[in-house]
Amino acid sequence: MSDAWKALDEDAGERGEGSREVADTTVLGAPPDASAGAPALARVVEALLFLSSDPLSTAELADATQAGEGAVRTALAVLAEEYAPGRRGIRLRELGGGWTLASDPASEDAARRLFSRPRSSALSPAQAETLAIVAYLQPVSRPEIARIRGVSADSATATLLDRGLIEEAGHSQFGAVIYRTTAQFLKLFGLRSLDELPDVARWDPTPEEQAQLRERLLRAGEARAGDGA
């Protein structure tokens, strides 16, 4: 495998990209003979493609690596060979005017098994509280969530968004992001619709209260905040 890379590297040199290749290695500080693996520029391009969620154009890659576009194309050719179909679990693809890494379709069954399972990490208390507020009060704004919880919910909200359990549903009249739960949420919690959310009365510490759920949650949240202040 490393032989293939090296061959390409040499090949690129012979093709007349030699001067750029030298410049690349100088800039990036890698020894000219990267016998153990990919040439330095190809490694950096690989890392950038790995990190980026969007396709990257040759020009963007050249900008970021401060190498010439020719050198970047050579590096991409090295990577294309490395990630040729059937060789790796990852493929290099040219999409929408740019390059991107994508998982090999052969892994789809395994990926589905992995991601369709509830993640091993259960919801943290902060996440469960945030999700519950969104589920029962939706649509609900971020400031409201913070008021009910008494602390910022940014991190919990980000995780829930990341896990696809909640999503943005526009903005409130004051410009705050508002949230609702997703179809994924219903699926993971085994609910056919939001009507099937369990009745809160079972866990209600003061069931005789007649006021609306939202109003009561806000009141309790404010009481806690005032208490802590």
């Binding site: 969620s53 400031p143 409130s172 003061t206 009481a223």
Partner: protein, 279 residues
Amino acid sequence: MTLAGLELDLDVFSGPFDLLLTLVLREEVDLLELSLAEVVLAYLDHLERRPNSSRAAHEDEAGRRARDEREELDLEAATEFIVLVAALLELKSRLLLGGEEDELLDIEPQEAAEELLARMLDAKRFRAAAAHLRELLAAEHGVRFRTAPPPASLRRAILHTADPGADANQLGEAIGRLLAMPPTINVLHIAVNRVSIAERLAHLRALLRRGSFSFDEAVRGADRMTVAVTLFALLELYKQGEVEWKQEESFGEIAIHGPSRETPRAPLALSGASAGAVG
């Protein structure tokens, strides 16, 4: 500049700081009657006074320079002072609050020293651990992780087969936790008038429901603390986008009303607000 040189002239005590400390630890001076703020002020005076008052007129240049060097703030003594005053403050706050830790109040100098020592060791441990964590993080410099979501096609596939493994009851439980009102804390033993932000928030929201009002109306007849807390609550409401306000001139009346999308947010002249309200 040692702490022994710090002479105090306070209401309840006159003499060197070291002696005061001993007397407090032996409960011969009542900590409750001792103004620690006065002790701190005396120490600051002490620091400021020393170089000038002690400089003799007949000193030669070399002698003065040597003296100046010696008289630069002695960090060790300053640190010691801070640690000791902090310990006194904690003892005093325990005395004031009373409660379950009463037995700790009868501590001997020996015990006081042990407790301080334990605290300093803890602080040292975790400062060192913090330095270690920062080194770990620095060693990971340049390591990045991929955060891209799975491709859309895979996401659809995942949704299709997702296992209903999560328990919706945990959401009900979470709501139950959030519905619980906090226990009312008995604050009768604290003489200070307590004003809570929650209370002032509720007050402002109640006024808001009736329409617009002025800040003066909102704090009519209130003491300074209440005025300050009300202003804080008002800022909180503004931050949440629940109110808007207008002040025509400095120290003028602050008109408060609910949000309207047309009116742009105007900055509040804070000095005017507090002066107008308190005065």
